[in-house]
Structures are given as C-alpha cells and as structure tokens.
C-alpha cells in the first residue's frame, strides 16, 4: 500500500512529462501580444468544468464527450500587432520536442510564401494514443495547443462541426479555395 503513493506520483510525473514543455521565453511574448489566450486545465479542473456542461447546448454537449477521455488541456495563443514579435528559435524549441520519441506528426504544413506553418501531432504511449499537439504559426500569430490523454477519433468526431472544427469528408476530392466549407 505504501508503494502505491510513490507510484501514483511517478505516474502523474510521467503524464506531465508527455506534455510539451513551453520555453520560458514564451512568458515574455504575452507582454508583447495584443491578444492572449492562456488556458491550463488539469484533470481536476476538467472534471469541475464537465459538471457545468449542459446537455442541451450543442457546444457543451460536444465538449462533454471530449472531456471524458482527456487528462489536461493547455492552450497558448498570441496575436501580435506587428510581424517579427516572436522568433523562429522559440518555435523551434517546440518542434524539436515534437520530433522526439512517442510523437508523430500527421499534418505538417509549411508555406514559405505566407510564412505560415502548422503541425498536428499525436503522442502515443505503448501504441495507444496519449496526447495531441497543434503548433500553428503565422507572421502575427502563434498558437500552441496540447491535449493530454487518450484522444479517441470518436471524440474528435464529436467535435466535428462544433467550435469551428470542420466536418472532414475523407471521400471527397480536394476542394478549391473558392469552395471552402463552413
């Protein structure tokens, strides 16, 4: 029984370790940014939040389905007034972590012309999904999202059409720019 406590602590540390480590320089970015979204929700907070999610509101309903499987959500989003407020070196510190063991990036978009980059990566532990990360950069915008926990495709499916997440039709042909779906 006495062994259970240190084991639980180790398990908690391991769960934390899988999350992206945000470089300390990011704290200074908040001062420079015009708009900042900073969300850190651990399992307790998610549990508390889920109690207040209604079954009637579609957004709440979708969120409730997602919260069931995840252990933590971390979001940092900065919108700057001018270009060059953040350095590529800061973002590179994140990308290095995403190239580490356990991570596999399923989407990697790089546009030299628009200087827009985006990565969607999944973290697996013993072959099972254990987390997800999105790193999206634009000249005046930087967004990092980390979701810890089992990301079930069904959970992502539940988000489709909610919170601005597009409904993805895998059978459809790529659409042209003027045919973007809402």
């Amino acid at each position: 029984m006495k062994l259970l406590v240190p084991l639980a602590v180790l398990a908690a540390c391991a769960a934390q370790a899988q999350m992206l480590k945000i470089p300390p320089s990011f704290d200074k970015l908040a001062d420079k940014a015009e708009e900042v979204a900073d969300v850190t929700l651990d399992a307790n907070m998610l549990g508390m939040a889920s109690k207040f999610l209604s079954d009637k509101d579609p957004d709440d309903k979708a969120a409730k389905k997602v919260v069931g499987g995840i252990k933590g959500v971390f979001v940092r989003s900065y919108k700057f007034a001018h270009e060059g407020e953040y350095s590529d070196a800061d973002v590179e510190l994140l990308r290095v972590q995403l190239r580490g063991p356990g991570w596999s990036c399923i989407v990697n978009v790089r546009s030299k012309k628009n200087r827009e980059n985006a990565q969607v990566c999944f973290y697996t532990e013993n072959g099972k999904p254990a987390g997800m990360a999105i790193v999206a950069t634009e000249p005046k915008e930087l967004t990092i999202v980390t979701i810890a926990g089992a990301i079930d495709p069904e959970h992502l499916g539940a988000l489709e059409g909610q919170f601005g997440i597009p409904k993805i039709d895998l059978d459809s042909k790529p659409k042209k720019q003027d045919q973007k779906d809402d």
């Binding site: 957004d59 969120a63 546009s111 969607v120 999105i134 979701i147 988000l159 790529p174």
Partner: protein
C-alpha cells in the same frame, strides 16, 4: 418530682415488639423496589432540561446551524464560480483548438487545390 420520674419511666419502659414484627419489616423491605440510580445520559439531559440551559442549547444549535449553512452555501457558490470559470476556459480552449484545426484544414485544401490545378 417522683411522679414525673414515674411517668417517664413508664413511657420509656422497654417493651417487646409484637409477634412477627421483625419478619414483617424484612418482608416489606424486600418487596419495595430499590430506587434506580440515574444513568449518565439521564443526568446530562436532566441538566439540559433546566429552562436556562435548554434555551442556551437551542440558541447555540441554531447559531451553529446558521454558520454551517452559510459556510456550505459559500462553498457551493465558490465551487459554482470555479466550475463556470473552468467551463469557460475549456470552451475557449476547444474554440482555439477548433480554429487551429480549421486553419490547418483550409491550408491543406488550399495546397491540394493548387497541386490539382497545376496537374
């Protein structure tokens, strides 16, 4: 004087009890139930049954109930505020996640469309 002495001697003379007196006394003593000693609880409640203590105890209980009720309500309210804040944070996080995924989705489509057009 001697008359008084005689009367006293007569009044205080030793007299034998009637036949079976001792046995009757013992029998009645055995038949009478022994008065029960009050238990600890009875003694405590008896103490509180006194009008002053009863009112004081009732006032204390009422105060305690009010304090506990207010404390419980405050805790509930605090938990409600925290929960609502956590919910707002969660919905914000999901909105940011959603818009990021939408942006990635749009970029992938844009690139795919450009690639298809080039072919």
């Amino acid at each position: 004087m001697s008359r008084l002495e005689d009367e006293l001697r007569n009044a205080l003379r030793r007299e034998e009890p009637p036949e079976g007196f001792a046995a009757r006394v013992l029998a009645r003593a055995a038949a009478t139930p022994e008065p029960r000693r009050a238990g600890a609880w009875t003694r405590v409640t008896r103490w509180f049954r006194a009008p002053v203590f009863a009112r004081a105890a009732m006032a204390c209980a009422l105060c305690l109930a009010v304090v506990l009720g207010v404390h419980y309500e405050q805790r509930q309210q605090l938990e409600r505020v925290r929960g609502e804040a956590a919910k707002r944070q969660l919905l914000l996080a999901l909105r940011v996640t959603g818009s990021s995924l939408r942006a990635v989705h749009d970029k992938v489509h844009e690139l795919s469309a450009g690639y298809s057009d080039a072919q």
